[in-house]
Symmetry: C2
Subunit: 227 residues, 2 copies
């Protein structure tokens, strides 16, 4: 114990909470079948019934479902929820073709509010997922949106460095396949594919305040290329 | 005519071509019906047969279709193509529920190549679209990725300024409805909805080298909110 007063620079910046950062996702489920309404509604209800919606703020409109993660572990809750939703939709469509489009966002709670005053960014542990047995292919893009240090403008243009590091990590994990225009192809168990994107997004979020990632995840496609 | 030599600073920077900027899109069509393979393949073939694929580089894989616009007018070609593809898919599904997910990108030709040396950015005229009679709702996000001036690091954090201006412009056009988490809701004729996103993306692209925009566009949804 010391009685010396802490200098200003020694005071740790408070780490932003998931709620302050607006950690959440927006996703849409697309069962390619005539019974799509039953499949979507049934899948969302099923996931809620399992308790995976607990701690999340969920709101479905006519285009997609918003899921806000106001409480820790935010990234884990989001991942478990969306993996379960895709699996439930796949199962309810009899293993048919289902596509999910998922947007994960942090650092911009509203439509246009981007609070640059939040500078204590959390280091998030990788999410833990159980393999589902459901194989997916995806096209994934990562967008670090505030790539310059707001204090001094340094690191301008560093967003590509973050993206390259994220892709290298996904290659190491075994989910990243070949590059494509505007996206990286991911392949593997749907839980691993989604966790790859979540972990990369959260990792960049430890150094960049505003980060968004988009994935188009496909399961059960008749044209899925065998790997 | 003057015989005076031009100073270096008077030499205009060459304006980047669509090919140098990697202007293009990646989109997926999701007909929510059992006949989805016929609908997608038929729609893409139909659009090609009309000549709208001329001047574009098109490649379809098991997740989405890449469309590169190497020749002028690049944005107009992309818009006409994707509007026609959504309309063809809607028509072929008997006016059923079809969702298109569309990513427009400029400034990053490859997966991770982002050529910052390209500094002469083109001013693109708004695209011209004909109304289709097909009503759409969409959720739209705009990502200016290089928001700091690479020369001096100025304007760090300006990406929200560009986004706010784009949303204000969409409001003036009448397509932007209310804000949502992580997205802006657009409503109107599908051609106007897509043109709103394209024009905003190209406009930001006149000052920011690397800009991406994503839209989830829905037509024929049984849960579409009446406006």
């Amino acid at each position: 114990v010391t009685s010396e007063p802490m200098t200003d620079s020694a005071v740790p910046r408070p780490v932003a909470t998931p709620k302050q950062l607006g950690v959440g996702m927006r996703f849409s489920l697309h069962p390619h079948c005539d019974r799509f309404v039953d499949v979507i509604e049934g899948a969302l209800k099923e996931v809620t019934a399992t308790g995976l919606a607990d701690g999340l703020v969920i709101s479905t409109d006519d285009v997609s479902t918003y899921v806000g993660a106001a409480t820790e572990p935010a990234e884990q809750r989001l991942t478990s929820y969306v993996v379960a939703a895709v699996c439930a939709a796949s199962s309810r469509s009899g293993g048919g073709h289902v596509v999910a489009h998922v947007l994960f966002s942090r650092g911009c709670p509203g439509e246009v509010s981007c609070d640059l005053a939040v500078t204590g960014l959390p280091a998030v542990a990788p999410v833990e997922v159980q393999l589902t047995g459901l194989r997916a292919v995806a096209q994934w893009s990562l967008y670090p949106l505030l790539d310059a240090n707001p204090d001094d403008g340094s690191d301008a243009g560093a967003h590509m460095t973050h993206i390259e590091a994220a892709i290298a990590e996904a290659r190491g994990r075994g989910t990243a396949a070949e590059p494509a225009h505007y996206a990286t192809r991911l392949e593997g168990d749907v839980a691993e594919v989604l966790a790859t994107a979540v972990d990369a997004w959260a990792k960049v979020g430890a150094v960049v305040p505003h980060v968004v990632t988009h994935l188009t995840v496909s399961v059960g496609s008749p044209s899925m290329v065998a790997s």
